[in-house]
Amino acid sequence: MDKTELLMQEQINDLLSEQPLAVLSTQRNGQPYSSLMAFAHTRDLGVIVVATGKSTRKYQNIIRDARVSLLVDNRSNNEEDFHAAAALTVLGVAKNIESDERQKFETLYLERHPYLQKFLNAPTTSFIKIEVQCYLMVSRFQNVMEYRIGEQVDLFS
């Protein structure tokens, strides 16, 4: 793996590890819908897991269209954010967690959010994995670097 890729992975891992919350975007009939979510990620950056009540609008949206986007950032809500903050846009596809991987992802999620154990284990909660295709890291106000980890080549065409 080349140096640039390693550096990129490190930056993404750092940001995802620092931040407990992400904004999840789903859509229905072309209407975007954003929600604040607790999340956890795998070290290889391939998967981000989230949990949501099955009756929620976002869950209903995901069932209809599994393509999602997440936003994670380290803003402090001060004006220095403009030069100092980094924002990470994640593009991926939401999938059901298979029973043989449930334990692994649960541990990952609860390590980050131990207070959400009851919520996670409720029968009305859906535990979802998002298979990441691409990360877009925005830093220094206008620098945008793209890290494609999925096989799909062009997500924007």
Binding site: D2, E80, F82, H83, F141, N143, M145, Y147, R148, V153
Partner: protein
């Protein structure tokens, strides 16, 4: 306690964080009853009020964090500094603060002329000395001027050299603050420096003194009289007079200070007599006693009264700690006088000499030379080329500061909205590069009317084709514009390149480079009106010098390229001769090695070093840039297909309308510029060659795009935003998809 203004009475409650190092030192001297012009200090809290009131903090942040400060070249930091300093000058002082400043000054000093000095909190405390890095202003009067100079002192926190020096000391640059000292201006008749302990002999005091004010002494423009005095016996051990006492610094009639010639009466005698030497030594030792450490003191003698301007411990003041590069940062700025001298030397002596040398070399025919003679000729040329390269660094590069000095003066006088408006005043000149491009256009026009000629050009030949006019133009391109220099090492490639260029130029619309003479004239008028009586420099001379500095910055590479081209011509001949003698020789073999081979001597194996970096630099596949930030160096927007130039041979593939992506453009290569839809350069700066030529032709240009050639690939569709300095990479897939749609 966060007051905005302090006097020495507040000393017990103060520290350097509030009023800076210089402010503290002056308050301490004043409190000790030493003769110091009574100081007032504008605290760092006042600086904060100004900066926050004008919302400057994040503007500075965005300037300095566009990319890692460590990745910015000095030129880019200068550019950022120019922008930041203009923000300060255009900012208003919040009314409450302004009133408090003016009434405090009025109460304490009345209508006296003032000195307004920087006092940085880190001063003398961060393992380095900030002496000379920030600005101070002498002989200031009038409300408007006082407020302006205070803003200028605040702004000087963001000079290129201050930013670099802070960065080097590991200080968090963006959090820096600045206090200001205001004192009455003391117009001394004699001034000088005093070291209470000679660094070379601890038993001695050193005194340096000049007639008039001590600015000339401090910056080295006026040579002082020097006395060495025995500390214990208080006896003069030696007095050394300068070679002459021709000039001195005195108060300027309309503010500031000026360097003037001294009248012979005064110049004939030393500034101090034995009695006054004795007096100042005693005063110096008293200050040393007070601080219990050897001191470096600036003093002046006004109407028989001694006055201490500054005192600091020698260890810090001399700033000679190991690895301290302050001197280097200070040398980044050239004085007006120094630039005038360089200007004269370059135009009057160096350029003509260089051209004479290249003409002399061009006249040499190698055919009759023996191998030994050829070897000597190669060495002679290699040496000459080295010599001129060294002159290029020592004289030509510093002369580029002429443009910067003009920019600083222009912004100071005009306070324009665009910090780089001054560049318009320098453009539109005939430069060698634009003249060369005109010749290429002439060749293209000749080719357009001649099918046979076009066919030859398509095959990459330019020798012995076309009519006399065509060959004359080609000959001139070769002899005057070092166009052969581009393809160093491969003459065939040069011909292919030139022929390809000529064919491309045929596609260009007629007319000369875009320029806006009306706008230039208008700005010139504004400049001269504002400059009227307000500067120590002659505004017309300064503008003339800046124009030459701008032009020569581009031309000099072509001049020196001729020498390089001549070295290459001899090397090519040498290679040819060696091959005819049956010796294998690589293209990259240096002239010195060729000389050895010609003499039948062995050379060290160098084959391995020729192309080592080849494997690196390939664009990483999974990590791609979507948007890269640089400096907006020439306005406009363009969309097109990128042509990444990694080596000179790539240039022959360049097609009109492509976007040129390159590490660094040399003026010998700027004939591509008129063909390009836009230019993206990794090397940063508003005043680099790519930016200069792009502005001449009105092409969008972004410079300082880190890793531009790594992240953009030939064939990528790219959008160049020359207003914001942003380059959006759409990649190949996207552009294919777009074409399909």
């Amino acid at each position: 306690m966060n007051k905005w203004i302090y006097s020495a009475d507040h000393l017990p409650h103060l520290d350097t964080a509030a009023i800076g190092g210089k402010g503290m030192a002056l308050f301490q001297l004043s409190a000790a009853g030493l003769p110091v012009p009574p100081p007032l200090c504008l605290s760092t809290a006042a600086y904060d009020v100004f900066v926050n009131g004008n919302r400057l903090r994040e503007k500075i942040g965005l300037e300095l964090y566009r990319k890692s400060l460590g990745d910015m070249r000095w030129e880019e930091i200068w550019d950022a500094s120019l922008r930041i300093q203009l923000l300060f000058m255009k900012g208003g002082i919040p009314e409450e603060l302004e009133q408090e400043i003016l009434s405090a000054i009025q109460d304490k000093f009345g209508d006296q002329q003032l000195v307004i000095r920087s006092s940085a909190p880190e001063e003398d405390g961060a393992g380095g000395s900030f002496a000379g890095l920030h600005e101070s202003y002498i002989n200031v009067s009038g409300t408007g001027e006082i407020l302006k100079k205070i803003k200028k002192v605040w702004a000087s926190l963001w000079s290129d050299r201050a930013i670099l020096y802070r960065q080097e000391l590991g200080l968090e640059v963006v959090k820096s603050r600045m206090a200001v000292v205001v004192q009455p201006f003391i117009e001394g008749q004699v001034s000088g420096l005093l070291f209470t302990q000679n660094p070379l002999d601890e038993a001695q005091v050193v005194i340096e003194a000049v007639h008039g004010l001590n600015q000339g002494l401090v910056d080295g423009a006026v040579a002082p009289d020097r006395w060495l005095v025995n500390r214990n016996k208080l006896m003069i051990e030696r007095h050394t007079a300068p070679e002459n006492r021709e000039s001195w610094f005195v108060r300027g009639a309309s503010g500031g200070i000026i360097c003037d010639s001294i009248d012979s009466d005064k110049g004939g005698s030393p500034p101090l007599d034995a009695t006054s030497v004795d007096e100042i030594v005693r005063l110096g030792l008293k200050i040393e006693d007070h601080y219990r450490a050897p001191q470096d003191i600036e003093w002046t003698l006004a109407d028989g009264e001694w006055c201490i301007l500054q005192s600091r411990p020698i260890t810090v003041g001399s700033g000679q700690t190991e690895g301290d590069k302050r001197a280097w940062y200070l040398s980044l700025t050239r004085s007006y006088e120094n630039l005038l001298q360089l200007w004269k030397k370059i135009t009057g002596q160096l350029l003509p000499e260089m051209d004479l040398d290249s003409a002399r070399l061009a006249a040499v025919n190698f055919d009759e030379m023996t191998e030994t003679q050829l070897a000597m000729e190669l060495r002679r040329r290699a040496t000459l080329s080295e010599q001129w390269t060294s002159v290029y660094w020592s004289d030509f590069i510093p002369f580029a500061h002429g443009v910067r000095l003009f920019g600083e003066v222009y912004n100071d006088l005009v306070e324009p909205d665009d910090p780089f408006e001054f560049v318009t005043l320098l453009t539109g000149q005939t430069m060698l590069s634009t003249e060369r491009n005109g010749l290429l256009k002439t060749c293209a026009q000749l080719a357009a009317a001649d099918d046979v000629l076009q066919e030859h050009l398509r095959q990459g030949t330019i020798e012995n084709i076309g009519g006399n006019d065509f060959q004359a133009a080609i000959e001139r391109l070769r002899s005057h514009f070092s166009i052969d220099f581009v393809g160093v090492g491969n003459p065939e490639m040069v011909d292919r390149l030139i022929s390809s260029m000529i064919l491309q130029y045929a596609l260009l619309p007629g007319g000369s480079p875009s320029a806006a003479p009306a706008e230039r004239e208008r700005l010139e008028q504004v400049y001269f009106e504002k400059a009227d009586k307000k500067t120590d420099m002659d505004p017309a001379v300064l503008l003339h010098m800046a124009r030459d500095s701008y032009r020569i910055r581009d031309d000099d590479n072509i001049h020196i390229g001729r020498i390089g081209q001549e070295l290459e011509r001899a090397s090519e001949y040498g290679r040819h001769r060696l091959r005819s003698l049956g010796t294998a020789v690589a293209f990259g073999t240096s002239a010195v090695n060729l000389a050895l081979l010609l003499e039948g001597k062995p050379i060290a194996d160098h084959a391995a070093t020729v192309k080592e970096s080849e494997a690196q630099g390939s664009s990483p596949k999974r990590v791609q840039a979507r948007q890269l930030q640089g400096q907006p160096a020439s306005r406009g927007v363009a969309t097109g297909v990128a042509r990444v130039i990694e080596q000179m041979t790539d240039l022959s593939e360049f097609k009109k309308g492509e976007i040129l992506v390159i590490d660094a453009i040399d003026p010998t290569m700027t004939f591509f510029a008129p063909l390009a839809a836009a230019i993206i350069e990794r090397r940063g700066g508003m005043l680099i060659h790519g930016a200069i030529i792009a502005r001449e032709y009105g092409i969008p240009c972004i410079t300082g795009v880190a890793q531009a050639t790594d992240y953009i690939a030939t064939g990528d569709e790219v959008i160049v935003d020359g207003y914001l300095g942003i380059c959006t990479v759409k990649g190949k897939e996207d552009s294919a998809a777009n074409t399909a749609a």
